[in-house]
Symmetry: C2
């Protein structure tokens, strides 16, 4: 389906129906969060009834964008005609409590993952888009809708975070053109970055210090890893949520091909693992071997076992997969 | 002097003379490095003779931009009419070995520091510019010069690094418009970011771990600091150059207003200090009290003394300056 046809079909659906539910994947990132709020803003301008529903509340770093509804807060099943699912490559990325709301509804799938399984009645999937936020920005243009300040803020957050501050391979001149337009609507890039990236705590910095002291690189210099043990959390007062970007410290080491972050979890004897590849090695395939998944350059899984057993076993698997 | 008049006077000088020396401050950052190479490229297009001279070689992370000449490599004193000094708020930021080359020459000062001391015969100082690279970009436009791929790469590096990946307060829609234009000339933002930000070593990560273990926050939660001692360098095998962004780890702590990084230096009993403000407190003014300088939100200085004496003295000064 050509991009032009998909977007005009989406517009057809929006014009035809009156009531919409918007949702996205578990552990929502900045693009999932921002694009939901931006689409809500657009639909409300068009006088539609809109409910945004996700299993968990808006993560605190993104609280400035607003609130959505969690299933537990619903007094009755929401009444709507069309469910729009954003940034989700397949339906198994939606939690069951949300999925159960979507039965017998028209499903519209808007996403930019190349692995998208086209699960909707209508599927607008554009792997060329830097973020789903960029697709929603285009939708504003095609529908001749003015972007409000709140809408611009949500779109900016989506694009900023999914391009890693305009530096990942999905960034091109169009990304900057859009950012320029959004800033003109009144977005303060420093204010936004402070809210999303300037929210470390003294405890999380102490935890990072301990985690970095565990960094190791394989003899061939191609694999780097670090870990967090439960006792480090106790010692520093930090939490598992503080370890979200730790894998990138290993990834930043020159010459590495694959970076890995291991952490003990609340679940006894289960190790959470994040993989990052600098491009050649497909870490999605590696994670799949352990019943995990993700993208070719960023993936994750969980493995039963103790840290001292799991680390050498995983390193050995990665060594075999190196290209 | 209005911006319009300054830039046209710069163009007048470029048109009038044939031979130029370009230089910038010690410990050159991405803007100092990028804007020098971008200006060299512009002047060479105009068939000028150009020598770029700096006391130290191009830092390895920026080696992809090219090479300049160090005074030790000069067989004779370079012969030129005009010296263009970039990104330097005063002449004391130039090392003596470079200053000695500039005697009796026409000095042109192009800078965006609000603290610039207008030391040139001609001074084009624009504190509104995100980077000196943005000013050189404007110069290309005003001189109707096509930007080569090498020129675009140098300009992109200048703007990318001085805006902290398009997130500091100096970023506005114009910054993104320029980035968009530069990307169209063939710049790959991911390739550039990997070269500048993906070049840590195992040693530098070990040093970061030790530095982060020193992080402290003042009782009122408004000042955060960390330090590097010479013995940490010995222990890890890292170097002073590896500490360039350490201050930002303190800066990222939620609720802080001022972040400070202290490090012992090769010069015995001299402490190098970097200040960052989140906006309210003018750290340029603080650094000036210690014969340093910079921007209101990012500045530095050097103080004679031992780490244990200098830290409490500086913290006390910052406490007084808090807004």
């Amino acid at each position: 389906m050509s991009r032009g046809r998909s977007i005009s079909e989406i517009i057809g659906i929006i014009n035809k129906y009156d009531s919409f539910l918007i949702t996205s994947h578990i552990n929502p990132d900045g693009d999932a969060i921002g694009s939901q709020f931006a689409l809500k803003s657009l639909l409300e301008q068009k006088k539609k009834r809109v409910t945004v529903v996700n299993a968990e509340p808006v993560p605190s770093a993104y609280g400035f964008l607003g609130k959505w509804i969690c299933p537990g807060e619903l007094k009755q099943k929401p009444d709507f005609e069309v469910a729009i699912i954003l940034d989700s490559s397949n339906l198994s990325r939606l939690p069951e409590v949300v999925l159960s709301l979507l039965l017998d509804k028209i499903l519209v799938n808007i996403d930019h993952h190349i692995s998208n399984e086209k699960f909707g009645r209508l599927n607008w999937v554009d792997p060329e888009a830097s973020a789903v936020g960029e697709m929603i920005y285009r939708l504003y243009g095609k529908m001749d809708c003015k972007i409000s300040r709140d809408g611009a803020l949500a779109l900016y957050v989506a694009i900023l975070t999914d391009t890693g501050l305009f530096r990942y391979t999905n960034t091109d001149s169009t990304t900057h053109d859009i950012a320029s337009e959004l800033l003109k609507i009144g977005i303060d890039p420093h204010w936004v970055a402070e809210r999303i990236y300037g929210v470390n705590t003294l405890a999380s910095m102490k935890l990072l210090a301990l985690a970095l002291s565990t960094i190791k690189v394989s003899d061939n210099g191609r694999i780097g890893w670090l870990c967090v043990r439960s006792d480090m959390l106790k010692k520093t007062g930090a939490s598992f949520q503080d370890t979200g970007d730790f894998v990138n410290y290993a990834r930043s080491i020159r010459g590495l091909e694959v970076a890995i972050f291991f952490s003990e979890t609340e679940t006894k004897d289960e190790i959470k693992i994040s993989f990052r590849s600098k491009g050649k090695t497909d870490v999605n395939a590696i994670a799949k071997n352990f019943q995990g998944g993700g993208h070719p350059q960023a993936s994750g899984c969980r493995i039963k076992g103790k840290l001292d057993e799991v680390i050498p076993m995983v390193i050995a698997e990665v060594q075999k997969a190196l290209r």
